[in-house]
Amino acid sequence: MPLLTIDRLCKRFDGKTILPSVSLSVGHGETVVLIGPSGSGKTTLLRCINFLETPDEGTIRLGSQRIGVSESGRALPEAELARQRSRFGFVFQRFNLFAHLSALDNVAAGPQRVLGLSRSAARERALRALEQVHLAQHVGKRPAQLSGGQQQRVAIARALAMEPDVILFDEPTSALDPELVQEVLDVIRDLASSRMTMVVVTHEMGFARNAAHRVVFMDGGSIVEQGTPSEVFEHPREERTRRFLQHLRT
């Protein structure tokens, strides 16, 4: 059984349909990379998974549990939705670190406030997560004192410290200076090889090629084609995929 199951998800904004009906499942330990042109609905799909956006139709399941609404389709109480969200990590394009907190406190906030760990246990766990993203020597710094690449790695540590079932990445390197992209991709690749379940929206095709277990190409709000990186990149079956990839090469 897949860990994450998205079934006929539909999302509209002000009457405009962004996602007509998307279905996708992600297995345990799988890294799924979503690619596609801007405006193809990748980010919206990702944000619907943990209910940062509320889908209009369709279901999302983590294991057997329905996300965001009860089995009968009613909206969940706030506390329950928050608890479900804590099972997903989310890494934002613009990092969104808590500006008033040090790197360590950014990462410790979730374990302490949400999981109810003691302050010292939460900081202990935060430190381990920051070590995992190679930032142990920067724990005391505020976000403004860190480079973009370092901030994004703190954000990844913040997600990891919650020990989530799935981590969702929304263009994690798009806001970075070119020389800082690689350190972030390296961390995500390490996570992929340690079998963390992840859905990654990215424009980094090199990363998609060598870190993804499966590549999903989206266009116009729908999944056009999916497969292993070599299938999608070397032998795309669909014309739209071919055109997109060709466009990237030129």
């Binding site: 989310f90 934002f92 808590f98 008033h100 906030a109 949400v114």
Partner: protein, 215 residues
């Protein structure tokens, strides 16, 4: 300019200034507590709470302070709620300031980047925790300058309390004027006293602003 009147009035007005200070400090304390409580209420996830706060703020903003003072002092006793002049004054100023401070708190918190809220949601924080642990600590810097303006308005507004015979700076001055008929010297002196008080507050605010952490 009659200097002997000024020399005579200075200590009397100093007592009045102390009385103004006593009214204002109490009103500032209550007004800030009320304003922050209302500000959090304005961000509540419960619609009924938001609407109630909105209605209150609307009333406070839409009616003159002097009328609000009269309402507390003359109208509330009709329904059995009695205060002496001092407390009627303190309460009227607090209720008024609370409405404006509510708007300052609400606007400052809502101006914090949406990404901060989304990040907090993504790790499973609840609405109340996001307000308390993420938005509020970052909103302080944005709250302080308009809050200072509001407290300055409150101090100036306290002069209106002379209309319900609260003993404060303006009232103390009017008594001297009534006896010696020297409005020029006395009002000038009153203005100076207010100016000194408000300058001290403005200085304190700038000091705090410098001390608050930068993000």
């Amino acid at each position: 300019m009659d200097w002997s009147i000024i020399v005579m009035a200075m200590p009397i007005l100093a007592v009045g200034l102390l009385a103004t200070l006593k009214v204002c400090l109490a009103a500032i304390a209550i007004g800030i507590v009320l304003g922050f409580a209302l500000g959090f209420g304005a961000l509540s996830r419960f619609r009924a709470v938001r609407i109630a706060v909105l209605a209150y703020v609307d009333f406070v903003r839409g009616t003159p302070l002097l009328v609000q003072i009269f309402l507390v002092y003359f109208a509330l006793p009709v329904i059995g709620i009695n205060f002496d002049e001092y407390w009627a004054g303190v309460i009227a100023l607090s209720l008024n300031a609370g409405g404006f401070i509510c708007e300052i708190v609400r606007a400052s918190m809502q101006s914090i980047d949406r990404g901060q809220t989304e990040a907090a949601q993504s790790i499973g924080m609840r609405h109340r925790q996001i307000i308390l642990h993420v938005l509020f600590p970052q909103a302080w810097r944005r709250i302080l300058p308009p809050l200072t303006n509001e407290l300055i308005s409150l101090i100036k507004g306290s002069a209106l309390l002379s209309a319900i015979s609260v003993y404060e700076l303006t009232h103390a001055g009017q008594e001297i004027i009534a006896t010696y008929f020297s409005p020029f010297e006395i009002f000038l002196l009153i203005a100076l006293y207010y100016y000194a008080l408000i300058s001290a507050l403005a200085w304190l605010s700038r000091y705090l602003e410098r001390r608050l952490p930068q993000f």
